[in-house]
């Protein structure tokens, strides 16, 4: 490899002379640019001798051109001499392509940008509410059509999503509710001990698990696991124009993509919530047996005193609502993907955050509701 690009400069009586040598390539452009920017031969003319160049690429050619352009603008005469034909051609080529352009659209003043952003956000939220309502209507209509014409129901796809969102989620839902069951049983016993109420940890475990936690935990796991998958699947189908292709066949994407996912979650989430109930009680019971010296038969007897059917129903009755929230958020955000892969990520995050938020709001509303009607 030849020498890195460099130049020497000397002053004569009537002019300056710059002799370039070595490889004037893109990779040595940094130091060369800094040195050339300091050049100021005013008022004498400058002769640039390119005879010593061993190699030149567009990077080096651009440096020569931009220096000449800058000096000529300052009223210095610049003369390029001894350039080989190839080098001269290259310099001429970059000169032809001197069309400055903006790298990024400049932003306006900070206050204006802020105001514009708030305005856009508000408008966006308004449209969001309208679109979400519209989407719910579309899904409801498609589900209604399906009930009127059961032959149009996509049974295979429905079963597929039951497996994906339900069966495949059993290990994670079971694991998490089991662990939380252990924690609640143990913490309950420890906290109630000073009051002599250690035996009531079964009440705490049963009520908390069955009424609130098992269904909430299942919903959060499913939002992260299946809601995000819905968005990503539908979103990338949208990017690859698969949804448009469906429409051209007269197929309704809502009917084909959304309804099976929606109905599948409606079926699986209550089952998962029930499974979570059982695993939570199992975890608590195991903890009771091993650490708290409560044998299984005693644990079950106490549990039966603490809870009844309504405790279980209060919890599981929320599952279909959560399922609807997760499925609708996931599919809705998926259908809103456009443009690039970045958009898939953005909407996936949004669907998970939205559905978990709405699930928790709904939980709070249900808890208040059930307390009010005294169940």
């Amino acid at each position: 490899m030849a020498a890195a690009g460099e130049f020497s400069i000397e002053e004569n009586a009537t002019s300056w002379r710059l002799a370039a040598s070595g490889d004037w390539l893109m990779r040595s452009a940094g130091p060369l640019a800094a040195a050339l920017d300091d050049l100021d031969p005013r008022p004498k003319p400058l002769t640039v001798d390119l005879g010593g160049l061993t190699a030149l690429d567009t990077g080096g050619a651009w440096l020569i051109y931009r220096t000449a352009r800058r000096l000529e603008a300052d009223g210095v005469e610049v003369d390029l001499v001894n350039a080989s034909r190839d080098h001269e051609f290259l310099i001429q080529k970059v000169a032809e392509n001197d069309r400055p352009c903006t790298v990024e659209e400049p932003e306006g003043p900070a206050l204006l940008v802020l105001l514009a952003r708030i305005g856009r956000w508000a408008e966006h939220q308004g449209h969001g509410v309208r679109n979400a309502l519209g989407f719910m209507g579309l899904v409801a209509a498609a589900t209604g059509r399906m009930i009127a014409h059961p032959s149009r129901f996509r049974f295979t796809s429905f079963v597929h999503f039951i497996e994906k969102t339900g069966f495949d989620a059993l290990p994670i839902v079971g694991m998490i509710t089991f662990l939380i069951g252990i924690v609640i049983a143990y913490m309950g016993a420890v906290l109630l001990r000073p009051y002599g109420g250690e035996v009531f940890f079964t009440d705490l475990l049963g009520v908390v698990m069955l009424r609130e936690l098992a269904v909430l935990l299942s919903a959060v796991i499913i939002a992260g696991r299946s809601g995000s998958a819905f968005t990503a699947q539908i979103g990338s189908m949208k990017l690859h124009e698969e949804i448009d292709a469906m429409r051209t066949f007269g197929l309704d994407p809502i009917e084909i993509l959304v309804v099976p996912r929606f109905l599948a979650l409606l079926v699986t989430l209550p089952i998962l919530a029930f499974f979570g109930d059982m695993m939570g009680l199992l975890g608590g019971g195991l903890m009771a047996w091993i650490v708290l010296d409560t044998p299984p038969d005693l644990f079950i007897t106490r549990l039966r005193e603490a809870i009844d059917m309504s405790t279980f129903l209060v919890g599981v009755s929320r599952a279909p609502f959560f399922a609807a929230i997760i499925a609708l958020c996931g599919c809705y955000e998926g259908l809103r993907v456009e443009g690039s892969a970045e958009s898939v990520g953005y909407h996936t995050t949004k669907s998970v955050v939205e559905s978990i938020f709405l699930v928790i709001v709904t939980t709070a509303l249900f808890s208040v509701f059930y307390l009010t009607i005294d169940v």
């Binding site: 990779r27 940094g30 690429d57 990077g59 651009w62 352009c101 903006t102 790298v103 970045e342």
Partner: protein, 260 residues
Amino acid sequence: MTENPKNAIEVEGLTVGFGRANILENLDLQVREGEILGVVGGSGTGKSVLLRSITGLLKPRAGRIRVFGETVTELDMEARTALEQRWGVLFQDGALFSSLTVAQNVEVPLREHLRLPQKLMDEIASYKISMAGLPQDAAPKYPSELSGGMRKRAGLARALALDPEILFLDEPTAGLDPIGAAAFDELIRELQQTLKLTVFLVTHDLDTLHAVCNRIAVLAERRVLVVGTMDDMLKVDHPWVREYFHGPRSRAAGISRDGH
């Protein structure tokens, strides 16, 4: 071309495969410095696989790939990075980074490998974009706002950012209208002459082969079947090569004069 051409790329005994099947087997190919080599072959014959193997994106099962005399597969990280700066790759759909503007895309390799002041980088990006035949107002746009042809030109500007010596092009004219494709062919030829590039061009486009390539390599049966000029290709007596270079599309492109 120089009188005694050196090889920019030498591939010896290359075998690449996925799972149980080998896509390429014992493949040999030389690309001379300063030439435009067109690589053709039916769908699934491994043209893109060959390109990806040479650029190190795929690990071969056997064989040796030398670029500028350096064995690609045996280099350490530092030497690899140095070598990677000497080639540029244009992927099929441009493969622009979607979160950056066109100009920022062109600046990515500059920023990564060179220490240049921002102003100089902006200037370099500007003339590269102009050289790739894009209008100035395309520079601050995001890839999703561009047409397919413009994305390819932007990808080309980015591939050329570091003034590479070898340019890999993966189906540069696929998906372009005939006028756009012809303009792109012209652009490749002009850039190759201006910058003295060695071009490795994977294509399906007979017009491109005819218009820009010095030599053509035909991939079939997991190896390079023949290498030669367009005239050589017309004399080859292999069924696929005959079909390809003497077919109706070939006559339309004015390459083959036999038949009607």
